[in-house]
Symmetry: C2
């Protein structure tokens, strides 16, 4: 099934790196804030034994190595509307980064994954820890599940706390909490829909695939961070609403391309197997289009076969190309980018922000990883 | 392993029902607030399909049937310090009830339980739902785990939100958020310690057992609700601190008795098997005491045997009685109640609250279920 944010939607092509257009200050501010938060948590955890300290270390490890897409969007919207309080926006950015961390950990738990970004995740680390303490495989599974449940709960709780404790006026804080509430509510709906649709055996329909992408990832990863940054800077309601629409559309475009790269990307560049999604039978825009063509019976028979070898995967890729699914998926991503840019143009936004976000969306279809 | 709040610590003996000493208004206020909250959530979920609505129904079902111990403690402390805003205290009580719901759901996930209070839990309902949609056993497991992860996250998020949105002044709200933060942080430490200690094969030590009871259950179920009610009513810091100490001690006493009832209680009255904890090898004060006696080798060999039959369980109970473990555990519970009452007497508390809580603690050792 689809893992939330399995690859970073905001990863950018090599030629035009989005990080160049936002202050490098951001990365160091967020990293510094995360370091401070985790150092405090580890200190506090020390009173409860080495396993609990190790749990916090595993959350910190899980939160590192990401591309900080959500903090960057918070920051871009905040700066775009004239916000200048770096300490404040960093805390909001931290909240969305920890929300993402929580979702990654709980997503891996659902998928029973023990590796993320090429390294053991929270569950993987605690399975190894159980083995190091002489535990058998069953013990390892229980330790892994326990650690993943608790780590996600702790990161999720901190995301809420960061916004709840923010030193801003009540109206602003409550707006931010509403944004967070919607992000949690909608992404849970999307995650459930994704799991249920992957396993229910019906033919994937494009409409459902797109709705799931939006709900599961675009809302919490794009819409919510942009809205939060804008609200924090005191942006007008209409502008916030436009950013939300933009975020959903751009987020869906990113995810469509992400799924295309999961099948057609160069594993050396993407860092991901190009056969895993095919073996898993992941329901993507690519597959939904293929299901409307005469090639579908041949594709369907091999899709989701966990024993699919690389040669068969290559054959399946050829079928997907030949039936027009690859072109259709890329066209759909382009269409979403066009609609996203239209939202920017139709709204009264500061010109610099419009330009920055327009460029950001454009890169959705130019990514190689 | 120990499930948080598997039986309600505040369940009371039949002769002296604690609920008689708090207004019946409370139960109806909490039930009404929960009903309203879940009705809103179901309405909102409707836009995301029937599975998501079913998920919310399963959270509601999970939150019903409990004994509302935590809301009652919030209420008792609030009323005890002269608080009179029912709408306000009900929201705080709701937050702690939903925190409890979240923990129960995630505990069951860790334990892979599919039944709670004699009925299918969130996971059990979604496993059945998968089967009804033609899913195989593996599909049922994935749906169950997904539902349990998300349901816990949603309930946990709502607990945070209730306090974060509370219409009180900043200092009060931040104190409440600190109480919640500690409850989440410490109970995660206790849950992890419990899982790790159950599976690591070492001899259980009393000190560790008691620390785990305090961390895993007493802090979030007793200390935090009492502190929150008192803070909301504007109680002095010293009084809040005394209630915290009382809550931890009384909470541990309740859990010791709970564990005794899990082995020696009448299943007809407790509603729980009297052999399950022995088959599971649960580490309780009872077992920790037994481990210090010459009977331990004989007890250890049978403890945790999942095939233990009722006759062997009865033999094990006899051993636990004969070696003095039952008496020792009950004495330990009494000792905790005495210390808890001492905290009440040593602090400057409103006399009615002192009497109410003293009686509440006393019943810890008189419970039959």
């Amino acid at each position: 099934m689809r893992r939330r944010g399995r690859s970073a939607p905001g990863s950018c092509c090599r030629r035009r790196n989005w990080s160049c257009s936002v202050p490098e200050l951001l990365d160091s501010a967020i990293d510094e804030e995360l370091r401070r938060f985790f150092a405090d948590a580890r200190d506090r955890a020390g009173a409860y034994g080495s396993h609990y300290t190790a749990l916090w270390e595993s959350i910190e490890q899980q939160s590192s190595g990401g591309k900080r897409v959500r903090p960057r969007l918070v920051w871009a919207a905040y700066r775009g509307f004239g916000g200048s309080e770096r300490a404040l926006v960093t805390r909001v950015a931290l909240a969305f980064e920890l929300l993402h961390t929580a979702f990654l950990i709980h997503d891996d738990l659902i998928d029973r994954d023990t590796v993320r970004r090429g390294a053991p995740n929270v569950a993987g680390r605690f399975a190894a820890r159980a083995a190091a303490h002489g535990g058998d495989a069953r013990t390892g599974e229980v330790w892994a599940a326990t650690a993943a449940v608790l780590a996600g709960d702790l990161a999720l709780s901190r995301a809420h706390r960061e916004l709840a404790m923010l030193p801003v006026d009540r109206a602003c804080r409550e707006s931010l909490l509403d944004i967070l509430d919607r992000a949690v509510f909608v992404s849970a709906a999307g995650e459930l829909a994704d799991v249920v649709s992957t396993l229910d055996g019906t033919t994937p329909a494009l409409e459902g695939v797109l709705a799931t992408l939006e709900q599961k990832t675009a809302v919490y990863s794009f819409e919510a961070p942009l809205a939060a940054g804008a609200v924090l800077a005191g942006a007008p309601e209409a502008a916030v609403a436009a950013l939300c629409r933009f975020g959903r559309l751009a987020g869906v475009a990113f995810q469509i391309v992400d799924d295309v790269l999961g099948v057609f990307g160069d594993p050396v560049v993407t860092g991901k197997s190009a056969s895993a999604d095919l073996r898993e039978g992941k329901r993507t825009a690519l597959i939904a289009h293929a299901a409307t063509t005469s090639s579908w019976p041949a594709i369907r028979d091999r899709l989701g076969d966990p024993t699919l070898d690389d040669a068969s995967a290559e054959g399946l890729r050829e079928e997907l190309r030949a039936c027009g699914a690859l072109d259709a998926a890329l066209a759909l991503a382009h269409e979403h980018v066009t609609l996203a840019r239209y939202e920017l143009d139709a709204a009264e936004l500061p010109p610099a922000l419009r330009a920055e976000l327009g460029e950001f969306a454009q890169r959705a279809t130019e990514r190689v990883r």
